[in-house]
């Protein structure tokens, strides 16, 4: 089975430096980028779904990483997007660390929950080690980031 992380990362799916610094504004920024990239039909509805996911339980996993994710009717196709923040985003992490790496996992509504969570698990695995996180933060192109994500076993 092919995985999202195994696919090429379109340049529009990488935000090298997030403009915003709070969790909710980052979710809006990512949703808008998803709409501009043709992945989401309506940014407002997508950001609402992402905020509701955070309300269910925070998606920051510590060590400066967050994996926001949603299955939504407004998502046209499965996709992974990456956002980075040198200054850090206040995500309310349990370890108190600001989030510097955001891996957004989006699935259309027709995607089964188990498959969506499998993609989230792969995104998490891609950020597991300090070396992997550093490389994801320092890679200078979508192609390089995609190469790092592809290293995760499917």
């Amino acid at each position: 089975m092919s995985t999202l992380l195994g696919q090429a990362l379109h340049p529009a799916h990488l935000i090298s430096e997030l403009k915003t610094r709070s969790r909710d504004s980052v979710l809006v920024e990512l949703a808008r980028q998803a709409q501009e990239a043709g992945v989401a039909l309506e940014a407002d509805l997508l950001s609402a779904a992402l905020r509701m996911r955070e309300r269910l339980g925070p998606t920051c996993v510590g060590r400066g990483v967050a994996i926001p994710n949603a299955r939504s009717l407004t998502v046209a196709r499965p996709v992974v997007m990456v956002g980075r923040s040198r200054r850090g985003v206040d995500w309310g992490a349990a370890d108190g660390e600001a989030v510097r790496l955001v891996v957004l996992v989006l699935s259309p509504a027709t995607m089964p929950a188990a498959r969506h969570l499998a993609e989230v698990a792969r995104a998490l695995a891609a950020t597991r080690t300090a070396r992997a996180r550093q490389r994801l933060l320092e890679s200078d192109s979508a192609e390089a980031v995609a190469g790092l994500l592809r290293e995760v076993p499917g």
Binding site: G57, L73, A114
Partner: protein
């Protein structure tokens, strides 16, 4: 706020609640390190959203949800993405962008 947007939000909330409630999916999420601590808050948000919707859409939503699990689907190239029937040319999106599929009864979102 449009009925269309609210119905899509309700649909997405139900997908999220399905993930949070289904045993296997919930265990998997917990195994990944995601706590499911805000279930009550999400259920409250759903109830608020539900109370805002027009009764005719609520009835159609609940009926289709019970029958198919997912009550709202998109239309692509005039094809209902729930039952994959080609919609008649007389089926046109309303001002709210919503209609009901005459074949399966799911609520159609025209995009």
């Amino acid at each position: 706020m449009s009925g269309c947007g609210d119905l899509i939000r309700l649909h997405d909330l139900d997908l999220l609640l399905e993930e949070a409630s289904a045993g296997g999916a919930r265990q998997r999420a917990a195994g990944l390190g995601f706590a499911v601590s805000g279930l009550a808050g999400v259920e409250r948000a759903r109830a608020q959203l539900f109370s805002r919707l027009e009764r005719r859409w609520l009835v159609a939503y609940e009926r289709a949800q019970r029958r198919y699990g997912r009550a709202v689907v998109t239309v692509r190239d005039r094809v209902c993405q729930g039952c994959f029937i080609t919609l008649p040319t007389s089926a046109v999106p309303s001002s709210e962008c919503l209609t009901v599929c005459e074949s399966c009864g799911r609520i159609l979102v025209w995009r």
